[in-house]
Every structure is written in C-alpha cells, then in structure tokens.
Symmetry: C2
Subunit: 284 residues, 2 copies
C-alpha cells in the first residue's frame, strides 16, 4: 500500500500510554525537588503524576476547568493532584506561576522544553539505534519538538546518523515555518488539529537548538491523512493509536515519493484517545 | 479494578493478527501435501492462506457466500483462493468434501481439531512457560478447544503445572456442558455470540482428549462482560482486541472471586474485528 518497508515503534504500551513517560520519569528522578508542578491537559500530566508516584514524589497538574473528566480522573488515578483553572479568568501559565510562588521548594516542569525532557526522550533514540535494525529514516510526530530533539540526541550520542523527519499537522505547521524562516515562529492561537498533542504554540527553545540543524525535514500532514493513518493502523496493524501518534504514518501517506522503497521507522507516540473521537474517525 | 495482577499475553500482533497462525503454519509445514483446503470465515482462513504463501504452498478457503467482503479480501491478499458457497444450497462441509475429491492430492485442515493444530498452539504454552514469569493461572478463550488444549500441551511438555482455564461465551457454553457431562456435547445451531471465534458447534475430539482431564475449569461469560472487556482493554491497556480475544478478561470480570489477589495471565487471542462492530461496542 505504501510501497515502503514500514516498522512501527509503538509507545502506546509505554507506562501511561505515551512516550511522555520517558521525559517525565527522567525529569522527576533528576531534579532534587520533592514537588513538581506542570500544566498539561494531556499525556504529560498523566506521565508526570505516575513518575512522581513511582519515585515517592508529589505532583500538581494544572488543567483547564473544561478538561474532560476522564483526563482529570486519569491524573488523579496516577496519584497526581489536579488544579483546575478557569482559563477565561486565569491562564494556565498564570496559575502555574501562582502555585510556584505558593510552593517555593517546587520544580516547574515544561512538557517539552527542558534539557531533562530531551534527555528522557533520547532513550527512545538510543533503543532504536541499539535494536540493530537499520532504517533509512525515522519519522516521528512534532509538536513542541521534545520527541524529535530527543530522538536526534539519542541517535547522535551513539554515533548513529539515521535521518529523523518530523510529522506535523498542516494546520499547526509552526515547526515547518520555523525551519523555513530559520527562527522559531509561533502560532497565534492554539491550532485545532485532531492531533491534540501537536497543538503547541511553538517549538521549545532547547528543542530548536537541536532541530534547526539536526532534523532532516518536516512533513506538513493534512487532517485527512492523520485520520486515514489512524484507520490504517487499526485495520492493518491491530494498533490503537491516538491521532497525534498516527502523525508519522500520516506523513508517509502525505509524501509517498520521499519514502518509496525505503525502510522507514514510524514512531507511534501514544495511544490515549477518547473513545468518541476514535469511533468518529473509524466511521469516516 | 479487578483486584488481581493481570498480565496480557497478546496474540493481536501475531502474523495475520491472531493465534491461529501458530496452528496454520505448523500444519502447513508438517504435511506433505502442496495444496491445503479448509472451511473458515474467520482467522484460520487468513492464517492458513498466509502460512501456505510463506511455505510456497497453495490454499483454498471455503467461505459462506454471505461473508463480509473485507474477510474475503483478506484471505485473497494473503495469497489464498476463496471458494464461496451458498450455504442454503450446499454446506461448507459438503463443498469442502467436493473439493477434496476434485483435488486428490490435497490435505483438508480443520481449524481446530487436528493434532497438528494442538502442536502449533502448544508453542504459546511453551513461550509462556519459558518467559520465566510465574502465573497462578492462565485464562484463554475456548471455542473448538484448539487453543486451550495447545496451551496445556505446551506447558505440560515442559513440566509446567500452571492451571489453564477456558473462557467461553455463556450463550455458546457447549464446552462447559461437555465438561459437566463428561462427554462432548454439541450446540444444536451456531450460537450467535459476539465472540464469533467461539461459535463452533462443539469441542474437537483431539482437543477433548486433552481438556477432559487437563483443563482447570470453564468460565461461562455473559455477552455484556465480553463487551466490557473489549472496552477495558481499549481504555486501560491501549489494546485493540476482537470480542473473542477479550473473552479471557471477560471471564475474570465474571468470576472475580476465583481470581482475587492472584497473578493471572489472560491470553488475548486476536485483534481482527470489524470496525463497525468495534465502534458499536465502544459506544455502549
């Protein structure tokens, strides 16, 4: 179908169901603080809550008051404390700053822009390199850039030159535009891609330092191809992927000529998707 | 949630998406015949077609003319020849017999009742035993009994006494009734359980010889618990399972007291499910 040899590197069975656990666990284990704060309505919040619980630390996750109850419950089940904020009154960043002042001995963690995040995600690059498989390239979702910069760091640390491509939603293409312009460009508002893990406003500064020279290219992927990739993973690989997780395969659908007859590793970054969203994608 | 330590042994990423490949490949590689015939509208047909293609052999799969096109296409994509039969005029068994006479050098394979099937499925028991994990028990779906008899054979061959329970749909409980009565009892008609891999009319004779003494018990699982298990695997394990594959977890939901505080291995036998069926289950 794709006229390429595709290997799926699935993070859907990672602890808490996404690659975010790599960064969260590395960060929580490296910092001295016993309390870690973050703002996340998605996978990083769950990952940080779980990592802190495993390490005997505490976590507070700031979430919009409109968050789906299932996501709030997930953070709590992993042992995190949830702080809901009415974002019409107070942004998550403001609430996070308040909490940081309220708890002076705490560490405020970015979900993607922190050297400890890159270092954590580098473990995936190292694992792929150590697997002994030779890929012509690796394709991974790009939102804030924590995963791709981590992959590149992990590969290069082992002297592995395999090119890494970023797969970005076309309607949230700030990373592609940044690469073209040579500096970080931010989206004006949060783009409403179905790939909700790639709705970040811009690439992180630490990540940009790695990506500007290190990434082979960014494939701007239409929403339709993201959804088609979710369906293909369901039908042909029995794999439940979240839309952000399917971005890498969506990118292969988007630029088939780039990957034709090549051996590709697609990173499926996570599997946590709302059942109603998943049903709607399958129905199309 | 289950108050038990549950390990999932997933066959959803096995070749062709179900455990049936183990039996099909073993059978196709052991028999001398170059052409293998079978009747299957489900996973065994796909598995046999793929196994024969890999081994440079031919396969013919007899399917009801009402089979879903996606299932017919799947057999063909794996390299099998499909023979559709109008079951109102001629049963699949009759058509299979005709073909067998038409091709005297062929082997007619049962999807579940053949020593070569048991031997193939025994590889899963051997792998679980060799994994080094100690389980208080293993729970696996039971339809024709090929999987459970294979598991028991594989474990016992290695001197592993771990008990094996069968998980059977309550509305297709011929195996449970057979065990109670001490001889094989058949359903009058094919029971319409959502677990379509367990709709077999009765346990196979070869399997019964293993199961009558070897199986620890059979848990008769209501349809609602099968569907709930599919949803739990989706929500908590990011695992796409077909209803038959989720039977083992459904059995744990059905008899929680039997498994409380124990270390259980649930065999998820396959992941091939029609998207419309899957969507309907998720929506409930």
């Amino acid at each position: 179908l794709l006229r390429a040899r595709v290997t799926l590197a699935s993070e859907t069975f990672q602890e808490t169901g996404s690659f975010k656990f790599r960064a969260a666990y590395n960060l929580a284990s490296q910092v001295n603080e016993r309390l870690i704060l973050t703002a996340s309505s998605g996978n990083f919040g769950q990952a940080l809550a779980a990592a802190c619980s495993m390490l005997g630390k505490e976590s507070i996750v700031v979430m919009p008051h409109t968050s789906a109850q299932v996501k709030v419950d997930a953070v709590r089940e992993y042992g995190g404390r949830v702080e809901l904020t009415d974002v019409r009154v107070k942004s998550r960043a403001e609430r996070l700053k308040e909490l940081s002042e309220e708890y002076p001995g705490s560490y405020t963690a970015s979900a993607y822009d922190d050297p400890l995040v890159i270092q954590g995600n580098a473990s995936l690059g190292a694992e792929l390199s150590a697997s002994g498989r030779k890929f012509d390239c690796i394709v991974a979702p790009i939102g804030g850039g924590g995963l791709t910069s981590g992959l590149i760091t992990g590969l290069r640390d082992l002297g592995d030159p395999t090119p890494v491509y970023g797969a970005e939603p076309l309607i949230a293409n700030d990373a592609a535009r940044s690469l073209r312009e040579g500096h970080i460009i931010a989206n004006d508002t949060e783009p409403q891609s179905i790939a909700d893990g790639a709705r970040t406003l811009s690439i992180g500064k630490h990540n940009w330092a790695v990506l500007r020279e290190g990434i082979a290219g960014i494939i701007e992927t239409p929403e339709e191809n993201i959804k088609q990739a979710v369906r293909l993973l369901f039908m042909l690989a029995n794999l439940k992927a979240e839309p952000t997780g399917a971005l890498s395969l969506g990118a292969v659908l988007t630029q088939p000529d780039l990957f034709r007859d090549r051996s590709i590793c697609c990173v499926i970054s996570g599997g946590n998707v709302d059942p109603a969203v998943y049903r709607a994608i399958l129905a199309e």
